[in-house]
Symmetry: C2
Subunit: 236 residues, 2 copies
């Protein structure tokens, strides 16, 4: 029984069962065998070592050996962002944020969105893969795409709300200066390639979103997302 | 004569001539014509508007109209980094650093490098494309790949030198806390997928490189590079 170098994702650890995709990866790609040791994470802070009990081509059952007590980073930041036209660019954003331990991602549909349709299911695959690779233990919560107006009309409780945009706006502050308390919940909106419209910016401001700048460069959407995440990451 | 939305790269503005690649892009792809207005940048802080004077399939001459006085960001940070096995990942790093205005990039060949050969010529294409898109005016200086030991044995004058590595090392400090003066020159070494070897870390320390951490997550090489760049970017 070798020490496992392979990590698998299983949202319900108590089920003791990997899904078809994870099982297939273990058995067909990695050619693991019954009795081999694996690491299993649930994407919500837990990590186990386990032994493979039984497997078919479509499933794999495991028996826990030991719960691992590891600290992992979860940044209390929620990024609502317009997915980029390029899938690769958006996937890169998803991956980088997972490495840094972002809490939540909401894909937005905005007036200038070049990408009108985004399926969360595909994005989750990118997140799971990045999570397993990174050694982090928290999978960001990725929701289905939602309309900008519908999103900002929600109640966010005590969360501090920001909108990053590129328009001239004397009320803009630096996002890096917006962190005052440890572990405060923060939400930031990041626009599409063509930015938010003035109407969207005004609506967000009416709803209590503070306009922020992420720096003096003209940044691509996915860069703005990564940078916003890292700005929060630096607080921890 | 329409206002130009198209930016071209020309390292020697006084030559008044775009090279074959840029000329081809202007004439064959964008189908610009003699008399059209273009924007030309030299990658070293200068930006002109100009008129197309003459063009063939292989070259394009332009006549300057106006020198644009724009401020652009140039972060006095030099990142020496082992290129990743995946070209896409390294290109993404090159692009993000160009958006943020990094000064210099040196590709390193290290003991654990999965990528033994990296041609600067191809990387420069990525940088130029990112520069034109970003609106920044400084092209990072990208040198040919160099052996780790050869690189760290160079003299770097007053530059503050750091090495980011993942080994347990009580002498490590947080990179974000290493910025004390405005505009100080900083050099950071970032290792390959398998990290620097202990021997490389020791050699760097002997040469005056301070070991630093970029945070508590296990970051991919290109993520570490982007994050190091953004940490410096936040100082400006």
């Amino acid at each position: 029984m070798n020490k496992s170098k392979h990590t698998f994702f299983c949202p319900d650890l108590d089920s003791g069962t990997l899904d078809e995709v994870e099982a297939g990866h273990a058995m067909r790609v990695l050619r693991l065998q019954v009795g081999d040791q694996i690491t299993v994470i649930n994407g919500n802070g837990r990590k186990l070592t386990a032994t493979i009990l039984e497997s078919t081509k479509k499933s794999l059952t495991f028996k826990p050996i030991q719960e691992m007590a590891e600290e992992a980073i979860k940044i209390p930041l929620h990024i609502a962002i317009a997915p980029t036209k390029s899938n690769d660019r958006f996937n890169f954003f998803l991956e980088k944020c997972t490495e840094m331990g972002l809490s939540a991602i909401t894909p937005l549909k905005t007036s200038n969105s070049e990408r009108k349709v985004f399926k969360a299911e595909k994005g989750v695959k990118t997140l799971v893969s990045a999570l397993k690779q990174s050694g982090n233990l928290y999978l960001p919560d990725l929701t289905e795409q939602i309309n900008f107006k519908e999103f900002i009309n929600q109640e966010f409780g005590a969360t501090k709300k920001f909108i990053a945009h590129c328009e001239n706006d004397p009320s803009k502050v630096n996002f890096k200066d917006c962190f005052t308390e440890k572990n405060e919940d923060i939400l930031i909106l990041i626009g599409p390639e063509g930015d938010f419209t003035q109407e969207e910016i005004n609506l967000a401001k009416e709803k209590g979103f503070t306009p922020v700048s992420l720096g003096n460069s003209r940044l691509r959407t996915e860069t703005a997302g990564i940078i916003a995440c890292h700005t929060a990451y630096l607080q921890y």
